[in-house]
């Protein structure tokens, strides 16, 4: 370690960090690119969130208040596209950029220029997507699933949306290639695959999922494009095509996509729970195999999104049972996190609070997912607010809470300062309470039959919609604490040592806080790896 520190210090003495706009536009440093991804994701989180606020404002009471129905449909579509592709996915890529090289003892990502390109595609993609609000016909309104024939009836937004999705897909694929190549080739000597931190493992598996399914989405939207402009009839019944085939292809991408959004969260929780339990992770290898099993199963469950479209009984049974199988590896994970905490010396700093909320609330989302997997029950729930409640429990209290937990966990490492823990706890409690006020009533609305994707509703749904909207506004407002806490932490705070959290293990905690611009140019010694790899 001493040798490493000396070598690092010698290097830092002539550490030529680019300055001004060049540092960001020509960035090849994994930490700079990670920061850009995270900032981009934060902006998109608030843009997508403002669409959500508008949706909840319209749904505050029955009748049409603020928007015409077409614009309302645009808001729901854009909210989903922005949150999935603009907020959650880039946040995970940002965290991967920051943490994977530091956790592997690697000096940077394997393909730094490609890394730069992957990031800089995104602002163009989202400028194009957001610009659709201003073209004749407005933004896409057919839902993020873009089902034909509805999507084919879009106005000028159609080619812009398709191109934006192609760009987002390219960015994700290039990012995934970079992650895999880095993990397979730049691990410090002695850091074998089964000694890697769980965050790296879950990202490795996520990256394989990305490479397998993002091109499928690209293929589907390319065919939509040719149907619209070049006279093909892949999905047009009038020409012998099959609109249902689009749904199959889309969900072959769409279901693994859900796991792309959640697997890195499993990795983060597996880092945080042991740290704040001051115990090694229970069942490290089981966690790795469970993650791989979930990834495999995600490829054979897609048609559970389409039960009501019509399919043979054998198909329904297969997709119902394969979906239910996912509960087994997921249960292994929840069990292992709980067992990690068992008899641990727990403390409840913001990362642990978010991780615990994840554990409870993601499990609720998992249970409602099991309910949706039951074919006859799904006929009742399909296209109701029950589905909306289900996937928001998975994506908000799952992915987004885990992203917040990760930021609160690693922020002291990135900045060298401890953030305001009291404000962090305020942020947590407001988020956790109002997230439930926002989404839990939507289960009741769905079970009572309220359809999703509508700007108006029958009067019997009024009360729970009002509660949901109040929860939504409060949840939205409380999120402004998050950038404020980060900004305050960047500007100053109590200095932290290498190991910002007492119970933290991993190579990143062997580096100074904040880490120098270039890290691990000299690979860590075996003793350092051994200390870091205590799972």
């Amino acid at each position: 370690m001493a040798e490493h520190t000396l070598a690092q210090a010698a290097h830092d003495a002539h550490d030529h960090k680019p300055h001004g706009w060049r540092r960001w536009v020509y960035a090849t440093n994994h930490k700079d690119i990670g920061t850009m991804y995270l900032v981009f994701s934060g902006i998109m989180f608030f843009v997508g969130g403002s669409a959500a606020m508008a949706i909840r404002a319209e749904l505050f009471k029955p009748g049409l208040q603020l928007f015409d129905p077409a614009f309302f449909n645009s808001l729901t579509t854009m909210h989903a596209l922005i949150m999935i592709f603009g907020a959650i996915m880039p946040a995970w890529t940002g965290l991967a950029n920051w943490m994977i090289p530091m956790q592997l003892g690697a000096p940077d990502m394997a393909l730094p220029r490609l890394n730069n390109f992957s990031f800089w595609i995104l602002p163009f993609a989202f400028t194009l997507l957001l610009a659709t609000f201003f073209v004749p016909g407005g933004a896409p309104a057919g839902g993020w699933t873009m089902y034909p024939p509805l999507m084919l009836q879009s106005g000028a937004c159609f080619p812009m949306t398709i191109f934006a999705i192609h760009m987002m897909g390219a960015s994700s694929i290039l990012g995934a290639i970079n992650v895999i190549v880095t993990i397979m080739n730049l691990r410090a000597p002695g850091l074998t695959l089964l000694r890697m931190p769980l965050f790296v493992w879950t990202w490795l598996i996520t990256a394989y999922l990305l490479i397998a399914v993002m091109p499928v989405l690209a293929g589907a939207v390319t065919m939509l494009l040719t149907d619209h402009f070049f006279g093909t009839t892949f999905f047009t019944a009038a020409g012998g095509g099959d609109p249902v085939m689009f749904q199959h292809i889309f969900w072959f991408f769409g279901h693994p996509e859900v796991y792309i959004l959640i697997l890195p969260a499993f990795g983060v929780i597996s880092e945080i729970v042991p740290t704040f339990s001051r115990k090694p992770l229970f069942g490290y290898e089981a966690m790795v195999y469970a993650t791989a099993s979930i990834a495999f199963l995600s490829f054979i469950v897609w048609a559970h999104h389409m039960f009501t479209v019509g399919m043979p009984l054998a198909g329904q049974l297969f997709f119902m049972l394969s979906t239910m199988l996912i509960a087994i590896p997921t249960g292994v994970k929840v069990f292992n996190w709980t067992a990690t905490m068992w008899k641990g010396s727990l403390s409840f700093e913001p990362p642990m609070l978010f991780a615990l909320a994840f554990l409870f609330l993601f499990t609720i989302g998992g249970f409602s997912g099991l309910m949706l997997a039951i074919v006859p029950a799904d006929y009742q729930y399909q296209d109701t607010y029950f589905v909306v409640a289900h996937f928001h429990y998975v994506l908000v209290s799952g992915s987004i809470f885990a992203i917040m937990a990760a930021v609160y966990y690693w922020l002291p490492k990135w900045t060298g300062n401890m953030y305001d823990l009291r404000l962090g706890k305020w942020h947590f409690w407001l988020s956790a309470i109002f997230m439930n006020v926002l989404f839990f009533p939507q289960h009741f609305l769905g079970l009572a039959g309220m359809p999703r994707r509508i700007p108006d509703y029958a009067v019997q749904f009024t009360d729970w919609n009002m509660v949901s909207s109040i929860g939504g506004f409060a949840f939205g407002l409380s999120q402004f604490l998050f950038p404020y806490i980060i900004w305050k932490c960047i500007r100053g705070g109590a200095r932290v040592g290498n190991r910002a959290w007492e119970g933290a293990h991993g190579l990143e905690w062997e580096l100074p806080s904040p880490p120098p611009y270039h890290t691990w140019e000299v690979p860590p010694a075996e003793a350092v790896i051994a200390r870091g790899a205590e799972h």
Binding site: L186, V213, V216, G219
Partner: protein
Amino acid sequence: MVSSEDDERRRRIRRTTLLLALIALAFYVGFILMSVMRGTR
């Protein structure tokens, strides 16, 4: 001064990158071809 180990690592990185890019391309082209074949049946 580039050691042969670094050189070998660079080659490995290039090979893995190309392989993964080809896999992605195969999924893209494969699904479109599958749809074409289904349409011509």
